[in-house]
Amino acid sequence: MFVEEIHKLAEQELEARSTLKNRIRVCTGTACLSTHSDQLRQAFEQEVKAHGLEHICKITGGGCNGLCAAGPMVLVEPGSTWYQGVTPADVPEILQSLENKPIERLLCNPNDPFFARQTKVVLNHLEDIDPERLEDYLAIGGYNGLLTALNELTPAQVVETITKSGLRGRGGAGYPTGLKWGTVAKAIGSPKYVICNGDEGDPGAFMDRSLMESNPHAIIEGMAIAAYAVGANQGYLYVRAEYPLAIQRLQSAIKQASKQNLLGDNIAGTTFSFKLDIRLGAGAFVCGEETALIASIEGKRGSPRPRPPYPASSGLWGKPTLINNVETVANIPVIINNGAEWFANIGTEKSKGTKVFALTGRITYTGLIEVPMGMSLREIIYDIGGGIPGGRSFKAVQTGGPSGGCIPEEYLDMPVDYESLAKAGSIMGSGGMIVMDDTSCMVDVAKYFMEFCMSESCGKCVPCRVGTSQMHRLLEKITDGDATIDDLALLEELCDMVSSTSLCGLGQAAPNPVKSTLKFFRDEYMAHIVDKRCPAGVCKMKHAEVAR
């Protein structure tokens, strides 16, 4: 019965749409909001009202389409006409054009490689969803994955499907998701918990933010399926407090889902119950590390603890706990709907599916993209991202945030997958991709990331707490022109020591940006140390107060 009711809601929504002549979606993502898409939406609503067109032209919000650099974005249906950089002044013209030809000067070409070269799995349909409306999610087949899982699959079959799909954790490390689920499902202990890690903290990363803001119901659905598969009845969505819009939308989505019995007791009339609560992170980067995140949910100081035991056997309040990242969770409903084989056909041998990247830095199209695993960096940066602006030349791309590394030009044709990135001295990470041109000093970049790790170290273990500050000081000496060759040797020694001895991933990976820049751009370090010169002209060399 229940399934029919949900399908009825979806049909009603589609029917309501069919009576409309036009639908206009204004992007409500953070990037477009920052260019006042909220005012734009109001302008549309007022103009429609002024002309008495409410019954045939509906103005709604929409999710992110990825081209954040060109916002605010507007989608006009039917016809799927995309406009970019729209201002309230353009509104009358757009409404007048509904009967005629689209407005050339505002057009955003959907055949542009930025869109055409992408493969959207988790970002699919985002523009078709007003994040505030459950009906919109249902209209694109939302919650079908959950209903299928509950009614047609055993928990073990769900785990098997995820295992077969080859999905790996999108939070950075790339641990096989199905294996993790299976471990939690088999773990002894009750109750069990599922946690979604929305503590995205890498500089330049906004994949999870966009997902939570644009499609909150997909996260809820994915978590519910995960909970069913591993035998949990309580879930926590851990979101950083710096994402107020994501929090607000997730909160209202949870309310809507609960009202329709897609969350709560006896979901969809089955014996499966699942409650979902939001917990806010208070701004500590380290709380993205799973044991620190768990401590934070428990109300303790967010600092990591040694593993094993892993959360799968002893997590939240000592109970078996499944932790997945936002993007991982968002993949779940799609896999259940389309099948493991479909998913496994995308991507490479060892890295299946797609990956969402946040393209930032010296790149023409700043924004959010989704590509199949295995696409080359060159295709991502030049074809999709539009290359380096201002006639400058490419120098490096930083992936994986403060735990990642800088990849130089000679690796541009390397396929982007977990193994290749690791081989090149970086990591997939959560998906931040910062492009740098010849105006960037690589020592300065390494110093920036080290400063980040130094101030985000939780202070629990000695190598990370003191080591990051010591390494930062050495990098500062180099960029000040005060360093000697001995300082460089000490820096390299500390890189090894800190990554080998730190307690958690933050410290273990903190030296990565230094290691990779030393590997590929050692000549820049030498120029600072020996010639007291910054080749990119970024570092202001000053002489030491105390001569060595």
Binding site: E545, V546, A547, R548
Partner: protein
């Protein structure tokens, strides 16, 4: 066996390490035939000579004169020994480092209770921003922590150096000993 040329230098320290050196007592007589003391606060030479085999340095590098001196000493010495905690760690002289020279000088010399408060600036070499261990300024060959290192430690150090060995002092001394 030919005599070795030994020098001792006193920088920012309390002279306790030199006292401890003298505390070797009668064993000094044992060492004397093998040692030519070419420079030291204990003897009269004014200029640090060239070609010194072993120099023991007590005290931290605290002012511009110290810095100049330790560089010269390093140039003219084969084996440079950082003697005592002030030389090895900065010790008590380095306790001023977290306050800054200005605050320290003002507290010491401009206290209103003094009859003629003024910061001395004639003849006296200016302070460096930090009192630092010797090895931050020059390469050190042997570290002898201790406040002060005991007479036994110093005796052992010299006997080993005389015998042409690098002394292992770990069991004999430590920071603060």
């Amino acid at each position: 066996m030919s005599k070795i040329k030994l020098a001792t230098v006193w920088m920012d320290g309390c002279s306790g390490c030199h006292m401890s050196f003298l505390d070797i007592d009668e064993r000094l007589l044992e060492l004397a035939p093998h040692i030519d003391l070419v420079y030291s606060p204990l003897v009269d030479y004014k200029e640090f000579p060239h070609g010194v085999d072993v120099t023991l340095v007590e005290g931290a590098v605290s002012n511009e004169e110290d810095l100049e001196k330790i560089k010269r000493v390093r140039q003219r010495t084969k084996i440079l020994v950082s003697l005592g905690d002030c030389a090895v760690t900065g010790n008590v002289p380095s306790m001023r480092n977290s306050f800054g020279t200005k605050a320290v000088l003002e507290r010491a010399y401009l206290d209103p209770s003094l009859t003629n408060p003024q910061i001395p600036n004639v003849v006296i070499p200016p302070l460096l921003p930090f009192a630092r261990p010797l090895h931050t300024a020059v390469k050190i060959d042997v570290f002898v922590p201790g406040c002060p290192p005991s007479a036994d430690t110093i005796y052992y150090l010299l006997s080993e150096l005389l015998a042409g060995r690098k002394p292992d002092l770990n069991s004999m001394t430590r920071f603060g000993a």
